[in-house]
């Protein structure tokens, strides 16, 4: 808020300041340091500058300037991403969209809303809840992550099992292309427009194809009824088998989450404990929703399946307050790791549900092999694992061991026919692991698409795809000091 005048001779900084205004640019080291990483803290690099545009025109003007002067640049929302997608590896000009945070339009008749990219995910639901609507994608960081960032990463969340991930809820985008041109895709309400599915291509492109400046999203009507179950198990196998049986019984829960013992230790030591027993091996958090008729029967079926698999204790939330406490405990789970470990790395593998017990056993082996604790908090219902590798970056060699352990977890997922990311994106973190699931030719085909949009590769370079011709081992990018 202080008065700022531009105290640098750098002509680029001065030019950018002329576009966005002197109070909308950061360039001093003491300020930039806050932007040297995002939710993935292993790699760090200072940006050249951070600009805070307030309109599409300003974004386009900044992008045009960077394009003309060959300055690398990238977009950033709340910076809660877990794969390093917003880290300025090449000393980028960071285009922060946090001041473009307006809810532009709500159209309940057509069940949609238009937001600016910096609008926070949960605020959308909060803005329409009193009218009986909500925005379905609910990443655990929804208290603070932005919808622009959600589009870039195609974010998922606990309730994506039933309702789909971000891409299933995006109806239109306004995009600034890497040369500064502004285009609009979709948004006119036609459900399946002819031609290529550009919305699908842009959503989840991890900020490498363009910068989203306006987003039309789908709103859903609140379900008539909702029930939430918490189940404690003495054996991980039993919990895994319960997950498998619930799905094969034809029940589609809104959410089906698992936490293991180490994860429970963390959330109970942190700010939102609910009193889970610490000696259980795993817990399941199961939510069903929909029309009232039949909900109770679904719950009965779920309870019966839990009991069949030797559940120690199982309970149904008795109030909205109790349900909210269970979810706050679950959704702050990653941050809670701070209570039991100085650093953590979270992985994001996807596996066929039927292979859950086997992969969890393999992760336990990896944990022993590297001498690092691994907690598991994950979307069991859709087989989306989140092994959290706990380490201490101040101990020599531990970061490297953590990275190797994480990579090996992904290898285990790929080995059973799964994938290396479900919702967190590839970013910097998993780009080499792309080779676990794609051949060189498949990767080249994708970078060819990127080159159509981003021919100079100035926008968020060095992310998403492995550098061609490099060997498989994890390594630090050359720009990282």
């Amino acid at each position: 808020m202080r008065k700022r005048s531009i105290a640098t001779n750098d002509p680029h900084i001065q030019a950018l300041a002329r576009i966005v205004g002197e109070r909308a640019i950061l360039y001093r080291k003491e300020d930039l340091m806050a932007y040297d990483c995002d939710g993935f803290t292993v790699h760090r690099h200072l940006p050249k500058a951070v600009v805070f545009p307030t309109s599409t025109e300003q974004v386009a003007a900044v992008v045009r300037y960077c394009h003309e002067h060959d300055l690398p640049f990238l977009a950033r929302g709340a910076g809660t991403g877990l794969s390093g997608g917003a880290i300025p590896l090449n000393g980028e000009v960071v285009i922060s969209l946090t001041r473009m945070k307006r809810l532009l339009h709500v159209d309940l008749e057509n069940r949609r809303a238009v937001v600016e990219p910096g609008f926070v995910n949960l605020k959308l639901t909060n803005s329409v809840a009193h009218r009986g609507y909500y925005y379905a994608p609910d990443p655990s960081s929804q208290y603070c992550c932005t919808i622009g960032g959600n589009v870039a990463e195609n974010a998922g969340g606990a309730h994506c099992l039933k309702y789909g991930v971000t891409t299933n809820h995006i109806l239109g985008l306004e995009v600034v292309l890497p040369n500064g041109e502004v285009i609009e895709i979709g948004g006119n309400g036609v459900p399946d427009p002819p031609g290529y599915d550009l919305l699908g291509l842009l959503t989840g492109s991890e900020g490498t194809l363009g910068i989203v400046t306006k987003i039309t999203v789908r709103l859903l009507k609140n379900p008539e009824a909702k029930q939430t179950v918490l189940a404690y198990f003495d054996e991980v196998e039993d919990a895994s088998q319960t997950v498998s049986d619930i799905i094969s019984a034809g029940i589609v829960p809104a959410a089906l989450e698992m936490m293991d013992q180490t994860a429970i230790e963390a959330v109970e030591a942190a700010a939102f404990p609910v009193g889970h027993p610490k000696d259980i091996a795993a817990l399941l958090l199961i939510e069903v929703d929909g029309i009232s008729a039949g909900i109770d029967e679904q719950i009965d079926d779920i309870l019966a399946i839990c009991r069949r698999h030797h559940v120690r204790e199982v309970k149904v939330a008795q109030s909205e307050e109790e349900r909210a406490r269970w979810w706050a405990n679950r959704k702050t789970g990653f941050g809670a790791m701070g209570a039991i470990s100085p650093d953590y790395l979270v992985q994001d593998g996807v596996i066929p549900r039927s292979r859950l017990p086997e992969v969890l056993r393999e992760i336990a082996n990896i944990s022993r092999k590297y001498g690092l604790r691994i907690a598991n908090i994950f979307h069991a219902g859709d087989g989306n694992l989140h092994p959290l590798v706990l380490f201490d970056a101040s101990k020599p060699g531990e970061t490297e061991r953590a990275l190797a352990a994480g990579s090996e977890c992904l290898k285990a997922c790929a080995a059973v026919g799964g994938s290396i990311t479900g919702e967190h994106g590839v970013g910097i973190e998993k780009k080499e692991e792309m080779r676990f699931i794609f051949t060189d030719e498949e990767i080249l085909a994708q970078t060819a698409i990127r080159d159509v949009f981003n021919p100079k590769n100035l926008l968020n370079a060095g992310k998403l795809f492995p550098t061609p011709g490099r060997c498989v081992e994890t390594k630090m990018p050359s720009t990282v000091k």
């Binding site: 080291k29 939710g39 603070c144 990653f334 809670a336 970061t399």
Partner: protein
């Protein structure tokens, strides 16, 4: 890339005296505080300054990252660090939001201590700080004297003159506005009860409690101190006013003057050593008193004394609630809302108790304030040091204050002044009251006294 690995960890015995990265003054920051932060970002939306600027060096996570970077030797204690570190309101909302309970406020205070030594205040700011923080607040007699002057200004017609002649327009806007909402000064309870060491409980004495009279509280809001005494005695408490007590030191600690903070803390610890309960009616002061042990991390003897002291401190609302206060019988018939002072809700975790007190009063209709625990921008003397940001934060706050209430209740004098400013600027007519005043009025009415709210 990774943190440089040259620094001592929290458990290293050397860190008590040695430097820690680029922190090189005594009373080093506690690295275990930043070690808990995994940079998840769950704090971002809780932060009033991030809400205003959208800049991460103005966010809890960003500030922790910068403070850690100094500890890792990647940043220096330079003047350019003042903005990120001192723009923090120290409202502690981030600590409530944080999944890992990172004590951002405590860390900010420690780092301000370092930064203030590396980059001392200069010019008029140094002068103002010296006069007020060192010259006046720590000295009850000088505060009393200032209060008398202020009373003279208000009662002699000087105030009217100053306002009419436009003299006030010579002051910066935010100071002129502050002048406009100054409450009228009464008689400090310290002076009033100077020769009466103990104020007897009404009826049977259940316990004896001491009250912190506070510095500004006793000068500006002596009526609230009076109300506090009446409410405590009404509930079976003998009240003592310990003579040697002084300012709690919160303003000094917030400003990075931890040395003066420690001096004041020692004086209070000694002054209150013979009492069992220390009751506080100012959230900021209560929070500071409870955190005295933080000031003596490197001094085992005083640390232990501070721990014993802190265990006796309680906010008046929680104390009344937990000791079974008498629900008032008389009706107040008023519609009001409640604002959570940051240092009550986030600093001390006291949220339901004051609400329970208010809701126990017959005829009171409580209207919920959305985001009631959002900072109002007062933050000690922040509204004087950072008027522009304080004003922006107040603006956001006022958007959430319900229109159709007569009173806004809270438990902190700084908030009371700031909210009065908000009400004035928005042309509203709500009256600002302290939670104990409501109880006091209800009790007085119960005793047949004529109470005008």
């Amino acid at each position: 890339m990774m943190s440089t690995m040259t620094n001592e960890r929290a458990d290293s015995p050397a860190c008590a005296t040695a430097s820690l990265g680029n922190y090189r003054f005594g009373d080093l920051p506690d690295p275990s505080k930043w070690a808990d932060c995994v940079h998840c970002g769950m704090c971002l939306e809780s932060c009033p300054t991030y809400e205003q600027t959208g800049e991460e060096q103005h966010s809890p996570r960003g500030r922790v990252h910068l403070m850690k970077s100094v500890g890792e030797g990647k940043l220096e204690l330079t003047p350019d660090l003042l903005d990120p570190i001192f723009t923090c309101l120290d409202c502690r909302a981030c600590t409530t939001a944080c999944p890992a309970d990172v004590d951002v406020g405590g860390l900010i205070e420690q780092v301000r201590g370092q930064l203030r030594q590396a980059v001392p205040l200069a010019g008029w700011k140094a002068l103002v700080s010296d006069v007020f923080l060192k010259g006046i607040f720590p000295h009850p007699s000088r505060l009393d004297w200032l209060g008398r002057l202020l009373k003279l200004y208000q009662k002699s017609g000087l105030q009217t003159l100053a306002r009419k002649t436009g003299m006030l327009r010579m002051m910066p806007d935010h100071l002129a506005e502050m002048e406009a909402i100054l409450p009228s000064v009464g008689t400090p309870v310290r002076r009033k009860y100077k020769h009466q060491p103990l104020i007897k409980a009404k009826g049977e004495t259940k316990r004896t409690v001491a009250i912190l009279t506070g510095c500004v509280m006793d000068v500006m809001f002596s009526d609230i101190n009076e109300a506090t005494i009446r409410v405590l005695t009404h509930n079976g408490n003998d009240v003592v006013i310990v003579p040697n007590q002084t300012c709690c030191g919160a303003l000094h600690v917030h400003a990075g003057d931890r040395e003066t903070g420690r001096k004041l803390a020692k004086q209070n610890i000694e002054a209150f050593q013979d009492v069992d309960y220390i009751i506080v009616n100012a959230a900021g002061c209560g929070c500071m008193l409870k955190e005295y042990p933080e000031l003596f991390r490197n001094d085992p003897e005083w640390h232990e004394k501070a721990e014993r002291f802190a265990a006796k401190v309680e906010d008046v609302s929680k104390f009344l609630h937990d000791t079974g206060f008498k629900p008032p019988k008389a009706e107040l018939n008023v519609r009001l809302t409640y604002h959570d002072a940051c240092h009550l809700a986030h600093g001390q975790g006291i949220r339901k108790e004051p609400r329970a007190l208010i809701e126990s009063i017959p005829g009171v209709e409580m209207v919920a304030m959305p985001n009631a625990d959002r900072c109002c921008g007062s933050a000690g003397i922040y509204n004087l040091t950072h008027p522009e940001m304080a004003q922006a934060v107040l603006e956001s706050k006022m958007q959430n204050v319900p229109q159709d209430v007569e009173l806004i209740s809270m438990g902190n004098p700084g908030c009371m002044l700031q909210m009065a400013l908000g009400v004035m600027k928005h042309g509203r007519n709500q009256k600002i009251v302290h939670t104990v005043q409501l109880l006091d009025w209800a009790y007085q009415k119960e005793e047949g006294k004529d109470v005008r709210i």
